[in-house]
């Protein structure tokens, strides 16, 4: 394969090199957070973290561990840049988005450092494409200060159970209200739309409920427009953990298995909608 025969000497100039024999492993997970054009890439020896934010109220992170890649070389402790995620996804899918069995796009992603473009070498069926995407000054991602010690309520559900609910959500509702409680209704998603209210209740004894740790009754509302993009991550995932902390901030963590069975994580943080009175 042309990419693997590239002389190792070239790598000296790159601060980051990541190779994968299936570009879809990266593109699928990035699609789950692609609700905005721009993303912040942070690479550490542990792997890649891609962050997308919306109006400082919503943050989505995709974590791709170093061992997902066939080769992952980083010459600094941390490499950060901002890049147009839409363009990146278009390039990763340059050979077409369809997933034919046995055919995959080989990817070699290289970055020389501050001010340099991100270079992608993509190969499929003997055809090589080189893409150079300009990088930008990275913005500092918002720190939601969400830590496990402040978590008041936590549930882990099988994604199957939530997928139908999220696909049926009444989008005329401005908010999605999440109620978590040690007593009835345990875990409830509510919408308040033009036709009326809808409530989805998950019992703590449900076989979809893998973990139920609720210490006190909490009801929080989140803007529907902020949470709707998380449906993409939900669709890819097999499990989701829903946590709220004492401020009402929401953390959604999705466990995603890629084509090769490897595990990646996608995380959404959302701040509560303060303007509205709780019901």
């Amino acid at each position: 394969m042309p990419l693997s025969t590239q002389s190792q000497g070239d790598d000296e100039q790159y601060v980051l090199v990541a190779c994968s024999d299936n570009a879809r492993n990266l593109s699928n997970i990035l699609k789950a957070i692609s609700f905005k054009d721009h993303a912040i890439f942070t690479a550490t020896p542990n792997g890649l973290r891609v962050t997308v934010e919306d109006s400082k109220c919503l943050q989505a992170n995709a974590f791709i561990q170093a061992d997902i890649f066939q080769e992952f070389t980083i010459r600094e402790d941390s490499v950060t840049f901002q890049i147009n995620l839409t363009v990146l996804l278009d390039c990763l899918n340059i050979f077409g988005g369809s997933a034919l069995p046995g055919i995959s796009t080989v990817l070699r992603m290289c970055y020389k450092g501050y001010g340099y473009p991100l270079t992608l070498f993509l190969e499929e069926g003997g055809v090589v494409t080189v893409c150079k995407i300009n990088t930008q000054e990275p913005e500092e991602p918002v720190d939601f200060e969400f830590c496990s010690t402040n978590v008041t309520n936590k549930v882990i559900l099988q994604s199957e159970g939530l997928k139908e609910a999220f696909s049926e959500l009444d989008l005329t509702s401005e908010v999605l209200q999440i109620t978590m409680s040690p007593s009835q209704p345990y875990f409830r998603l509510s919408t308040f739309g033009n036709s009326g209210n809808a409530h989805y209740d998950y019992s703590k004894d449900s076989d979809m409920m893998e973990l139920f740790q609720c210490t006190k009754t909490q009801t929080n509302r989140y803007k529907m427009s902020l949470l709707k993009p998380s449906t993409k991550a939900l669709a890819l995932s097999c499990k989701v953990s829903v946590r709220t902390d004492n401020r009402g901030f929401l953390s959604l963590q999705y466990l995603v298995r890629n084509d090769d069975g490897q595990i990646c994580f996608v995380e959404y943080y959302c701040c509560p909608d303060e303007d509205v009175e709780e019901e």
Partner: protein, 403 residues
């Protein structure tokens, strides 16, 4: 009102709502001692559908209501777009829903529909409603000249040959055969259209009664909605109709439910005219748009454009022997409830003052069904009535055909 559906009945209920949604944008709920009636009517009141679920259909059925209503069960209407999404995916309902509860909560002014699903999941929907008098079209199907009964499958097989975009079809009946053909307005596109016609021998039908040879044209979409339901439940469908212009009634029933669709048919000057009538008068055209008729889909047909149809139109008296009355006179009769007269007015008859030549219109089927006051003056609306509104307490007419 509080009723509980279990298992497959939830899917049947959902399928009924799908059929009703093909008719109108609002869903009338009318819980009574004889069962829960779901009804819909279209905006031009030329199509009406009613599903009546007997108390046996439900796992639990109670009409208990709050004291504010004085013991009466609440009758209301909901927006179809609020209710239909709840039942949209029938396969998922079949797979996941174990029980469904429909109740009316007066303190909250809400209709509450709750789905108890597998995996400990409960979905609750609180829908806003509007109180409303019940809607009902009274149609004396047992007085119709023609009647057919066939398994839903047979009718579906006939109808499936027509494209989905086909708006209206024409059903023709003679003692020798029944045929279905597509109806098209405007003769200019002969070269671009595909005409389909199929005929069936009377032996194909479970019941075949020809009182008057007729060709009726009605909306296919509405008919398909009912057929889809009938096919799922393998129910035979009965069709009652008369001459063109009078409504056609499709009905089906089993032990726990009855369904009826009443559609207005086109006043068609192209029809051959019933064979039994000997009277004819000078050919006159159906009335124009300004006189008391609300057209459906603004379809205007120019007669005499189809080569195989007679150039003359025939004014025929009612096959039931009702007096032929002119439009202004007929308007006075509308508030009466016992009027078979109101029911059977042949539209060709009131054609004296036709203005535009050759326009066929669908007459409004229901009149004042949506108004709650009875005491209003005769005609707030100048529409001929083909089937009278009744306020539900009158049991004068049996809506279901008895064959």
């Amino acid at each position: 009102m509080n009723c509980v559906l279990e298992g497959n009945c939830v899917k049947a209920f959902g399928k009924a709502i799908h059929a009703l949604s093909r008719i109108g944008d609002e869903l009338w709920l009318d819980p009574t001692a004889t069962g829960l009636a779901l009804r819909a009517v279209n905006s031009s009141r030329s199509a009406y559908c009613c599903f009546l679920f007997s108390p046996l259909f439900f796992h639990q059925y109670s009409l208990a209501s709050g004291p504010e209503l004085g013991g009466e069960s609440l009758k209301c209407k909901l927006l179809m777009k609020s209710v239909l999404p709840l039942f949209r995916c029938l396969t998922s309902i079949e797979r996941n829903v174990k029980r469904c509860q429909v109740s009316v909560s007066t303190p909250g002014d809400r209709v509450v529909i709750q789905f108890f699903c597998r995996h400990g999941i409960t979905k609750t929907y609180n829908l806003g409603f509007q109180e409303s008098e019940p809607l009902q079209a009274v149609f004396a199907s047992h007085l119709c000249a023609n009647a057919l009964k066939a398994p839903a499958r047979l009718l579906s097989d006939m109808v499936m040959h027509f494209p989905v975009s086909q708006e209206e079809i024409m059903l023709s009946m003679t003692p020798q055969r029944v045929s279905l053909r597509n109806y098209s307005e405007g003769g200019n596109d002969h070269l671009k259209k595909m005409f389909t016609e199929m005929s069936l021998h009377p032996d194909e039908f479970d019941f075949y009664q020809v009182g008057v040879d007729s060709d009726i044209t009605f909306g296919l979409k509405e008919f398909r909605g009912l057929l889809s339901f009938a096919e799922t439940h393998s129910l035979p469908v009965s069709i009652h109709f008369g001459a063109a212009g009078k409504p056609v009634c499709f009905s089906m029933e089993d032990m726990v439910l009855e369904a009826t669709v009443v559609l207005a048919t086109l006043v068609d000057s192209e029809s051959r005219g019933p064979s039994q009538h000997t009277e004819t008068s000078t050919p006159t055209m159906p009335r124009g748009a300004d006189v008391a008729v609300r057209p459906v889909d603004s379809c205007e047909v120019h007669s005499n454009k189809n080569q195989d149809l007679p150039a003359e139109t025939v004014v025929v008296p009612s096959s039931q022997g009702s007096p032929i009355i002119t439009t202004p006179v007929m308007m006075q009769l509308l508030p009466q409830h016992d009027s078979l007269v109101g029911l059977c007015v042949p539209n060709e008859a009131s054609v004296r003052d036709a203005t535009t030549p050759a326009s066929s219109m669908i007459c409004s089927l229901l009149f004042r069904a949506l108004l709650s006051q009875e005491g209003e003056d005769g005609c707030p609306d100048r529409l001929p009535v083909l089937a009278c509104y009744s306020d539900g307490e009158e049991e004068d007419f049996q809506r279901s055909p008895s064959l």
